[in-house]
């Protein structure tokens, strides 16, 4: 037995999606020991939706500071020896946690990813299952997370890329399981891809990765 498992859900203005995300956590074949939702300054009633789940979900409300800060707040409150993350507009298939946990135990890795499908609606079975090093597809031992440190709150986007670059540099042993563990929901407002702001953050993250490597060499 690997230990207790905490799930951190970061939520900003996802009132229309967060209930399904939480339902998908509650439907896990291996139930987590703790579900923490961090409402990051929503102004669309997201927190009220979360409160509707009663004591099955712990809600933390904070002013809007971005996904990195929301996840960090959730991690700070989490008590589990294992951590998993889900964005409030995404879903986990029922065996998501069990698949990752089984792979973590079998491989002895500190961090396990699974595959990801992108879906454009209830009737969309999703595209191909692709390996995805995304926060929502990750299961990590708490001690390994603490070695890397929290998500960098300077980044409003690309914070997971930065975090994983640091995990790579810290030598965190990673493994990938073949199961689909995350359904990324592509919905109305989130198709503005590759705009200037995310590109700028990504470039800053990459510049940081290059600088750290140069300092080590």
């Amino acid at each position: 037995m690997t230990g207790t498992l905490s799930v951190v859900v970061a939520c900003h203005n996802q009132a229309g999606f967060v209930a399904a995300a939480i339902d998908s956590i509650l439907a896990q074949s291996r139930a987590p020991d703790e579900i923490i939702v961090v409402d990051d300054g929503s102004h669309d009633g997201s927190a009220a939706v979360v409160r509707g789940f009663g004591d099955r979900v712990r809600l933390i409300v904070q002013p809007n500071r971005g996904a990195a800060a929301a996840r960090n707040a959730g991690v700070a409150a989490a008590t589990g020896a294992l951590l998993a993350f889900l964005d409030a507009d995404d879903l986990w298939p029922p065996a998501s946690l069990a698949s990752r946990l089984d792979h973590l135990e079998r491989t002895g890795a500190a961090l396990v990813f699974g595959r990801v499908r992108q879906s454009r609606g209830a009737d969309d079975q999703g595209g191909p299952a692709i390996p995805g090093r995304l926060a929502g597809a990750m299961l990590i031992r708490r001690a390994a997370f603490d070695r890397v440190g929290g998500f960098d709150e300077r980044y409003r986007t690309a914070e997971t890329i930065d975090w994983l670059a640091r995990a790579d540099e810290a030598g965190i042993v990673q493994a990938n399981c073949d199961a689909v563990v995350l359904i990324r929901r592509i919905h109305g407002g989130n198709l503005m891809i590759r705009t200037a702001a995310p590109a700028a953050d990504s470039l800053r993250v990459l510049r940081g990765a290059v600088a750290r490597r140069r300092a080590l060499s």
Binding site: H12, N13, Q14, D40, G41, S42, H43, D44, N64, G66, A67, D87, D89, D90, V116, I130, P131, G132, R133, L134, R156, T157, A158, T160, I161, L164, A165, D168, R184, I186, G189, N190, L191, M192, I193, R194, T195, A197, P198, A199, A200, D201, S202, L203, L206, R207, A209, V210
Partner: protein, 148 residues
């Protein structure tokens, strides 16, 4: 009228490629391959010019001005550098004469000339190939409009 190769405009292969040059270091990301690149020294100087759209002839003139290279050497360096960038699909050539090709005044470089080197990084390709769709929802992260 056909435009001579050295006068064709060369620019960043947008929108597939995004880049930023700060303090003499360019970081370049290719959304199609997931590769990212770092460029310093003479390469960064040339890349900055490419970001503004330039020509092969203007790039060679930049090297002559910055490093006092002989024109023939500068031309050779630029040809090799553009070939390297093209190999990674980082640049695009236009067909019309380049209006913006006027040489930008360049200070003499403090460092001696060294041929441009393209640092190629593939370690984060899997992540860079996944669009950051959740991060750019105008109603959600990175910042709600009411807070923006």
């Amino acid at each position: 009228m056909e435009v001579a190769v050295e006068d064709r405009p060369v620019s960043v292969n947008a929108p597939l490629v995004v880049s930023e040059t700060i303090d003499g270091e360019a970081i370049v990301m290719h959304h199609g391959s997931g590769l990212y690149f770092d460029i310093v020294g003479s390469g960064a100087l040339l890349w900055e010019a490419i970001e503004r759209t330039t020509t092969r002839a203007a790039l060679a003139a930049t090297l002559v001005a910055a490093y006092r290279l002989a024109p023939a050497q500068a031309d050779s360096v630029v040809r090799d550098w553009l070939a390297t960038l093209a190999e990674h699909d980082l640049i695009a050539y236009g067909v019309a004469p380049a209006a913006a090709a006027a040489a930008v005044p360049v200070a003499v470089a403090a460092e001696p000339f060294a041929a441009p080197v393209l640092g190629v990084h593939a370690d984060l390709a899997d992540m860079l190939l996944l669009d950051p769709i959740h991060d750019v929802d105008e109603a959600g992260w990175p910042m709600g409009r009411a807070h923006g």
